[in-house]
C-alpha cells in the first residue's frame, strides 16, 4: 500500500526540529532511518500528519570516545556505521558483535541505532545490548534536556520513557569494567530474522579469577529487554567453572519467563535461555581471561 499524505520538513538544526515537534506534538513523528516507521506507514497503521526528517541535520553522525573511555553515538549513526566502526569494535565489542544480527545489510545501511532504541521492539537486539552495557540515553525536547538510564528507558512493547516531544538524540555506552569480557548470541530461523531468543552478557574477573560482576540481558524474552539480576548475583564472587556456568544457565531459565508466540512455545524459549546463557557466559569469561592476561 501507499502511505497517507503528510506534511514534511527537513530542518537544518536540532533546535529547529525540536521547535517544530513542540508546535505539532503528537501529530508529528521523527523520521530517522525509517526502517520501522515507513513499513507501518505503508500499511497505514501509522498516519502521522507531519514528518520531521532528521537526515538533513548536520553533525549528528558522530561516534566519539569520551575521556573516560566510553563512546557516544549520535542520532544519525546507522547500524552499518557501527558494524564498520573500529572505535566500537575496540571499545565495545558487544555492540559490534550484536549489530550484525540486526536485520539485513540493506536495512542496516539505513536504520539508525537511536531510532532502533526509541522504537523499543522487545525482539530487537540493541536494547538488550544497552541494558547489559548500562547505556545512557540523551533525550531532548524544545523545553527539556535530560539523560535516562537504559534500565529506566524501556517500559513496554514499543513504549519508552521518552515524553511526547522528546527525541532520543544520543546514546552513551560507558567504558567496560577492567578485566571484562562480553558475548552476544542469538538463535533465529534465518539470518536477519527476529531473534527467537538472544542474550547479551558482560562479565568481569577480579584478580583471583573470580567473577567480579556479571550483567546478562535478553531480547525476545518479554515485553521489554530483560536483565537477569538473580543470575548475576549468584555468579558474583564465584569461580566461573563449568558447575557455576551450568547453575547460571539453569537459574536463568527459571528467572526469565518468555511468553512464547505463534512460532515457538514458551518452554522452547526457556530451553534457549538456558543454552544461550551457558554458552554466552562461557565465551565472555574466556574473553575476560584473555583480556586480563594481556
Amino acid at each position: 500500500m501507499k502511505p497517507a499524505p503528510f506534511r514534511y520538513a527537513a530542518p537544518r538544526s536540532i533546535e529547529e526540529l525540536l521547535a517544530l515537534k513542540a508546535e505539532h506534538g503528537d501529530d508529528a513523528k521523527f523520521l530517522a532511518g525509517g526502517q520501522s516507521l515507513i513499513p507501518t506507514m505503508n500499511f497505514r497503521l501509522a498516519q502521522p500528519a507531519v514528518l520531521l526528517d532528521l537526515n538533513t541535520l548536520p553533525d549528528q553522525n558522530f561516534i566519539v570516545e569520551t575521556s573516560s573511555g566510553g563512546v557516544r553515538i549520535g542520532a544519525l549513526v546507522r547500524h552499518s556505521d557501527i558494524e564498520t566502526s573500529e572505535t566500537i569494535a575496540r571499545s565495545h565489542p558487544l555492540a559490534h558483535e550484536a549489530i550484525r544480527f540486526v536485520a539485513h545489510p540493506q536495512i542496516r545501511n539505513r536504520g539508525t541505532l537511536c531510532g532502533n532504541l526509541a522504537h523499543a521492539d522487545p525482539a530487537s537486539e540493541m536494547p538488550a545490548v544497552m541494558l547489559a552495557l548500562g547505556g545512557r540515553f540523551h533525550a531532548r525536547s524544545a523545553a527539556s534536556d535530560r539523560w535516562i538510564d537504559a534500565s529506566d528507558f524501556f517500559l513496554s512493547i514499543f513504549t519508552t520513557a521518552l515524553e511526547e516531544n522528546e527525541m532520543l538524540c544520543e546514546v552513551e555506552m560507558p567504558p567496560l569494567p577492567p578485566g571484562s569480557g562480553t558475548c552476544f548470541l542469538e538463535v533465529s530461523r534465518r539470518p536477519g530474522d527476529f531473534a527467537m531468543m538472544g542474550v547479551a552478557t558482560v562479565v568481569s574477573l577480579d584478580e583471583a579469577g573470580r567473577c567480579a560482576e556479571a550483567r546478562i540481558a535478553y531480547c525476545s524474552a518479554g515485553e521489554t529487554p530483560l536483565l537477569a539480576p538473580g543470575v548475576a548475583a549468584s555468579l558474583a564472587g564465584e569461580e566461573p567453572d563449568e558447575t557455576a556456568l551450568l547453575n547460571a544457565a539453569r537459574q536463568a531459565a527459571e528467572e526469565i519467563d518468555p511468553p512464547g508466540n505463534v512460532h515457538l512455545t514458551s518452554a522452547y524459549q526457556k530451553h534457549l535461555v538456558a543454552v544461550l546463557t551457558g554458552r554466552a557466559l562461557r565465551t565472555a569469561f574466556a574473553r575476560a581471561n584473555t583480556s586480563a592476561s594481556q
Partner: protein, 162 residues
Amino acid sequence: MLEELVTVSTVVNGKHYRRVVEPRLLLSDFIRHDLGLTGTHVGCEHGVCGACTILVDEKPVRACLMFTPQADGHAIETVEGLAEENGELHPLQEAFRDKHGLQCGFCTPGILMTMKAFIAQHPKATEGEIREALSGNLCRCTGYQNIVEAVRLAVSRIGGSS
C-alpha cells in the same frame, strides 16, 4: 516550513533529474512511475522481500523504505545502470545468465544490486558469506542454488579468487 510538495534533485544512473513530488511518494514509485525505470521491482512494499533494492551513494537500501525527498542530493543506481551503454552486460549479469541464476526474474534486479555492493566489499567472499548476504532478498522460484552459484562465479571473475 512544512511542505506539501518538495523539489527533489537527484542523480540516477549518472543522469540528473529534478522533480516536484509529494513527500509521501516512495522512492521505489518515483523511480518506476516518475522516471520510467521499471527495472526496479516492487514486491512487498514493507522492506521484507528485497526486490526493490537499489544503491544510494553506493550502498544497497530498500527503495520502498525511503521517501523520495530523502534522495535529494544523493546518487542512485538501479539495475538499468549495470550494463554498459553498448549493451555489454555487467560481470554479475553475465554470471547470472551463465549459471541460470533466475527463473521468473522478479527478484533479480534487487539481488543484482545487493550483490554488486557485496562483492565490492567482499571480493573473496565464501559461499557461507554469500548465502548470508543473500538473506535479505527473497526468491520464490529457484531454491537459491543457482543464484549462489552465479554469485560465486561473479566473485571469481570480479574478485579474482579461484
